[in-house]
Symmetry: C2
Subunit: 301 residues, 2 copies
Amino acid sequence: MSVLVVGTTALDSIKTPKSENPRLLGGSASHAAVAASFFAPTKLSGVVGGDFPSKYLTLYKKHGIDLAGLERVHDGQTFHWSGEYEVNMNNRRTLNTVLGVIENWSPKLPGSYEEAPFVLLANISPSVQHTVLDQVRKPKFVVADTMDLWLNVALADLLRLLKRVDCLVLNDSEARQLTEDDNVVTALKKIHKLGPSYVIIKKGEHGSILSGPKGLFLAPAYPLKKVVDPTGAGDSFVGGLMGYLAAQKSGSVETNLRRALIHGSVVASFCCEGFGLIRTTRTKREEIHARVAQLEHLVRI
Amino acid sequence: MSVLVVGTTALDSIKTPKSENPRLLGGSASHAAVAASFFAPTKLSGVVGGDFPSKYLTLYKKHGIDLAGLERVHDGQTFHWSGEYEVNMNNRRTLNTVLGVIENWSPKLPGSYEEAPFVLLANISPSVQHTVLDQVRKPKFVVADTMDLWLNVALADLLRLLKRVDCLVLNDSEARQLTEDDNVVTALKKIHKLGPSYVIIKKGEHGSILSGPKGLFLAPAYPLKKVVDPTGAGDSFVGGLMGYLAAQKSGSVETNLRRALIHGSVVASFCCEGFGLIRTTRTKREEIHARVAQLEHLVRI
């Protein structure tokens, strides 16, 4: 089955003390769609400007990503984020953000997208997430990702969205902000009360926690010797997770979700090993399978 | 087989915004010995003053802990730590520390302790840890715990100790301090080069990582709805771990260690649910078994 991914399609310029990496392919939808494409047919809904390099279209196509829903505004500018890392690569600060064509975007899905069974509302404004959800019919499983920005500036829209999705994905500090609760177990219970049957809290190198009707699952992160750039790791995680779910021919979402988190973690680990999508797009399926097997061994009691 | 535990035997006075808890039983050896006692015969090496309440001796005895190596200095004062928690219970600050009888203590082990196969050098000065290690013959497995204080004031002694132990246990910030490395995987490799075949890095609510000759094991922490007082959780973890190892009638330390970490995590979870040792000492073996089974389920893929 296929995955529909909506989110940002961006250019990221990432400076470090040692290198400049201008105008890399970035954005939540780019990371999530490439990650999903390792497992299942993937449809992208996004918007880019006339400055979007054709080599990035070629890259999407190399991954078999359906671009019928990638809108192009020829006289507009692609969403562009610039940031800088500190020496130890742990802290990142934003230098500049140009919203460009994303600012007033209201996605119109091609007819071929409307029946997508797995819908991933990757990180973008909740209003865009609603607009996409309005255009799909009877999806089997809808996941929304979000970020602190939307908790700050679009909380009402986000809370309305939570009543329409099966699963919310957010990181631990966002979960604290949303629930005003420091304890992850009780925070999860509060988020379920806002709507979603499944909640996944991302904890970076400490893994993630899935909460669903059958209780909790504590998922590990793949331990990396070197993190080059964690930008997009969360998007890769949820993209890999959805791709894996869509690819399963048997079992329910409930029974497949644990293994889906493991696959998401593994794709995210590759993402962290290079700037932007550089390492992810070089990843071979066999490398993913090998790391999944390793990760399973690392947590087996 | 039995476990010998050396460390601090203390009185802890813990203030919170809502309550005062004066002169609780505390100290690394108290927490570790009680934790180990759930699984295996446990021998305590420690020192207390004339002010040490007899009810705490009764508590040790209730857990079957061998007190032949608990020295009593009748005209001395028991090591006493006073601390205060902030409103959210996440930050703790020390109000006062009275070293008392621990300051110049040089343990002398009773003959019955010398053959202990499992030796836990719980958190105390490396010089005391050396002194105990000098008095045991051919132990099967020696684990040392430590803390940032000893990295700051007794690094040379600690480095010398690392060449004499099978396993070092420390938390993530201590591992960074010891190795000057932010990455846990490469920090582990550096610690192995200092001596121990096994290294365990504790990450609090994020679980722990075991590194040994057969690679890594990512161990979960038991997810708690409410943390009352994390004081002693690390000591309970390593005590439970050693008690479990000592209780196994088959399998090598290597093959039993993964399950040992799970048992340690579970005892630590009970420790966090009450001030001092209040909840731990009320724990029944069936409660431990139930949480171990739950924790195994929470990480099963």
